[in-house]
């Protein structure tokens, strides 16, 4: 079958856009729910992660970077072979994909794009807070965020209770000294410094390790989120998706980074244990990549990409897409996969689900009442 836009609309996914009854206000679910965002910096190629197998034109345009041995999802789409865990979860109704999606940004600059994927804004550098931070803020700061990164990512800013974990090899000074320094900060009116030092002083045991590889970070994140009083939000940062050259096929740079994503998901699932049921894992990237390969066996900055999702809060395994097709006149500016779903709709819906907030409130206070759609009931267990 040639994968056209029409075939997908027929598949019943057009409803994605026309439903979206707002949830009736803040609900009082007692169960702790988590959202984990994995940021994929550099522009993740959705067509490498989730190749369309029913459209032969993809392989024609990418002779040197064809993905073989793909893991089939349905008649139209498959997963890159390095996304093994993800595939198992998909078979188990615990993974899904939104394809041909992007934040509404077509400028192809990493810095603008990464700024926007984190702020959720339409204008680069216009917002100093992130969509996840503003979402957390709407919970009256009852929920906490955790970044598995050394710098505090923009995506989490705007919330009062952010922590990060990315341990130094060296030992933190004794609690007595820290308390002494904290009292200086308090006396000098340095509330931000005092608050952060307080988080250091009160770190849980699980954080008292000094190894910062992705496995450890994922394990600590899962252990922390699993705890009843732990944070509800975790953010990972994986770099290196900007493959202008030597992108590779089943091996190569893009494949290596997809394997990292898969490993993070696998470790999270293992260590979250039962809490995986009440967790949603989502990827975020600044843009996809050109459909055609370039002269260096890589791809250029593009537009539409894919969102990988995992966790027990997903409604079912599905590739959600209003597939635009890969024919030249279907492509954005004749070169990039078109984005037919505003990725922010997925993120807004995810926050409504996990934070138990009214979608309309998120739309208004996180996304400035811009045109984001409520996909909660289609995508997630609400």
């Amino acid at each position: 079958m040639n994968c056209t836009r029409r075939s997908f609309l027929k598949g019943g996914l057009a409803t994605l856009f026309f439903s979206g009854m707002p949830l009736p206000g803040l609900t009082n679910s007692k169960k702790k729910k988590n959202i984990i965002v994995i940021m994929l910096r550099g522009g993740m190629d959705g067509l490498t992660a989730v190749p369309v197998i029913s459209d032969p034109s993809l392989n024609k345009l990418r002779k040197n970077i064809i993905i073989e041995d793909v893991l089939k999802l349905n008649t139209d789409f498959a997963l890159h072979p390095k996304l093994q865990t993800f595939h198992e979860l998909f078979e188990n109704q615990q993974a899904a994909v939104v394809h041909a999606t992007s934040i509404p940004y077509t400028g192809r600059s990493h810095f603008e794009g990464q700024d926007l994927m984190e702020t959720g804004s339409l204008t680069p550098y216009a917002s100093k807070t992130g969509w996840l931070g503003r979402g957390l803020n709407l919970t009256n700061n009852s929920l906490d965020g955790l970044a598995l990164a050394l710098p505090m990512p923009l995506i989490l800013r705007g919330s009062q209770n952010n922590n990060n974990f990315f341990p130094s090899r060296k030992k933190v000074p004794a609690g007595k000294i820290l308390s002494e320094i904290k009292s200086i900060y308090e006396a000098k009116g340095e509330s931000e410094l005092a608050k952060n030092l307080d988080l250091i002083i009160n770190r849980p045991l699980s954080m008292l390790v000094n190894d910062k590889n992705l496995l450890t970070l994922s394990r600590v994140a899962a252990q922390t989120l699993r705890s009843e009083n732990g944070p509800n939000v975790a953010v990972f940062d994986i770099e290196g998706f900007d493959t202008h050259s030597a992108q590779g096929d089943i091996e190569g740079k893009h494949a290596e980074h997809l394997y990292e994503v898969d490993t993070v998901v696998k470790t999270l699932q293992k260590n979250l244990k039962d809490a995986f049921e009440d967790t949603l894992i989502l990827t975020v990237t600044e843009f996809g990549r050109t459909v055609s390969e370039n002269s260096g066996r890589g791809t250029e900055h593009g537009y539409g990409s894919a969102i990988l999702m995992a966790g027990g809060l997903l409604k079912k395994s599905q590739v959600y897409s209003d597939w635009p097709g890969l024919k030249k006149n279907n492509l954005f500016e004749g070169r990039d996969l078109q984005s037919t779903i505003d990725a922010r709709s997925v993120y807004a819906s995810a926050m409504a689900t996990v934070f138990d907030l009214d979608f309309e409130l998120i739309k208004r206070d996180v996304f400035w009442n811009e045109d984001v759609k409520d996909l909660s009931s289609q995508l997630f267990r609400t």
């Binding site: 100093k128 505090m152 341990p167 390969e293 250029e300």
Partner: protein, 489 residues
């Protein structure tokens, strides 16, 4: 007397340094000439480019030789890195940078140099961080800090590291002689294109910023202008290492280009292909949006996360009057820092904090040239590599940029539990690097008091807090170096 000034615009006053009688003239006089640098026997930029090329070429051969065994390949590759000194040389370059900052008689110049190396951040690619970014910063950026801003942009743009990192060599004009010849010969594959990467950064990050309102078409047109600027291919045996950057008109897009509405190289006023880039840079650098963008960035770096408009305007005027003369601009920034001592809450980035600590406390963290070169290139460097590990762990390695926009200097970037832990652990570590003559019981208090007296406007308060409890010395140092007055200025 505004003692914070020395830390605001430089690295503080050293233990044995005298307080200048006229601080503003002292600082402003530092921008007229480029201070000498202690090279510690480091190879030049062109020698390093050659080393990197050889390292890569050997690595390519290893992939063929060990294609049957991933383990043997990995071993051979690491041996190759050791042989070419990848970790050794980046540590050496960090040493040169830090030694200059701490020991220079022109520390304000050195601090300004750090601003510009961050402005022209180069992203690592295939050994650039190890072999090229340090030498690029000192041979290209540093050497052009006494001319005009436009000249600095030109040199930074056609510098090997920048061209290589932003892949400008892959950018081929669709109507270039290269494409024409391929088409005529019947072997054109249609796989060449312009690469917009470098053109976009030149506009967005290095000159006018997105506030200037350029369009995607402007980016494409600038990439046409830039096509032909290349780094020589690393495998060519005939590479002239002294000139690893070339302009090759064979790949250049001919015809006219239109940027910000102005046409370059039209029929009536043709511009030599090679000179087109410089003509565009000249025009970009006289734009008000360029002045405003760079000036605001300078004021943010030196004065405050939110510098007031009057301060920005003052520096912009100095820029305009002097046609973008860097020493004049630098002096104007310094004057604004001096005249506005109430702006004393700028949160210092980790490298700056570390260098100030080193200088004020007269630490012996850095190795001498002689001990640095005690290395056999068979094993990994250990003592030498400490500085690289430190900068990585502090999250502020000045050759290892995560993004081409460099490190962001506003405090949200640096105030978080992990970032604060870094300063706590390294402050604790500092005690091990205080010279032994200063840690003796009878001199330690005097040593600290003298540092604080010289560099802090509320010296009495700090010393009183510090010696109130009978704390052990390393704890006193940890507390002192994490005080708000030390973290900010």
């Amino acid at each position: 007397m505004y003692k914070g000034f020395y830390r605001k615009i430089a690295f503080g006053l050293g233990l044995n340094e005298k307080t200048p009688s006229d601080p503003l003239s002292w600082a402003q006089s530092q921008f007229n000439k480029i201070p000498d640098i202690d090279l510690m026997g480091a190879p030049s930029l062109s020698e390093q480019i050659k080393l990197r090329s050889k390292m890569r070429e050997t690595e390519d051969n290893l992939t063929v030789k060990f294609k049957h065994s991933a383990v043997e390949y990995e071993e051979a590759r690491q041996k190759n890195w050791r042989k070419y000194g990848t970790d050794f040389y980046q540590s050496l370059e960090l040493h040169i940078r830090h030694k200059s900052a701490i020991s220079s008689s022109q520390p304000a110049f050195e601090r300004m140099f750090h601003f510009w190396t961050n402005h022209f951040a180069v992203i690592d690619a295939n050994g650039l961080k190890e072999h090229t970014i340090g030498p690029y910063q000192r041979e290209v950026i540093r050497k052009n800090l006494t001319g005009s801003f436009a000249n600095l942009v030109k040199q930074a743009t056609i510098g090997f590291a920048m061209l290589e990192s932003l892949d400008n060599g892959d950018s081929i004009g669709p109507n270039s002689n290269y494409v024409r010849q391929e088409k005529a010969g019947g072997y054109y594959k249609g796989d060449t294109a312009l690469n917009e990467n470098h053109a976009r950064e030149l506009l967005e990050l290095h000159t006018v910023s997105p506030d200037a309102g350029y369009t995607q078409q402007d980016v494409i047109e600038l990439s046409k202008v830039m096509s032909g600027w290349k780094t020589k291919y690393y495998k060519n045996d005939y590479v002239d290492w002294k000139n690893p950057v070339i302009f090759d008109s064979y790949y250049h897009e001919p015809k006219e280009k239109k940027i910000f509405g102005k046409i370059y190289n039209n029929k009536d006023t043709p511009i030599n292909a090679k000179d087109q880039l410089f003509a565009v840079i000249d025009d970009l650098c006289v734009r008000e949006d360029c002045r405003r963008f760079i000036t605001t960035k300078l004021c943010k770096y030196f004065i405050d996360d939110n510098p007031p408009q009057e301060i920005i305007e003052h520096v912009m005027n100095a820029w305009k009057k002097s046609d973008g003369d860097l020493p004049t601009i630098h002096k104007a920034v310094i004057e604004m820092a001096f005249r506005n001592p109430d702006y004393n809450k700028k949160y210092l980035m980790p490298e700056t904090w570390w260098l100030q600590v080193n200088k004020m406390m007269d630490l012996n963290f850095l190795l001498s040239e002689e001990s640095f070169w005690k290395h056999d290139f068979e094993s990994w460097p250990r003592a030498q590599f400490q500085i690289t590990e430190l900068m990585e762990d502090l999250g502020h390695h000045p050759f290892d940029f995560k993004q081409p926009n460099g490190y962001i200097d506003t405090e949200e970037e640096w105030i978080s539990p992990e970032m604060m832990i870094r300063r706590l652990v390294y402050a604790k570590h500092v005690y091990n690097y205080i010279k032994s003559e200063n840690t003796k019981n009878d001199v330690f208090e005097g040593y600290l008091t003298s540092i604080i007296d010289k560099n802090f406007d509320n010296a009495d308060e700090i010393t009183k807090d510090l010696f109130r409890d009978n704390n052990i010395k390393s704890n006193q140092i940890t507390t002192f170096l994490n005080r708000p007055e030390v973290l900010r200025v």
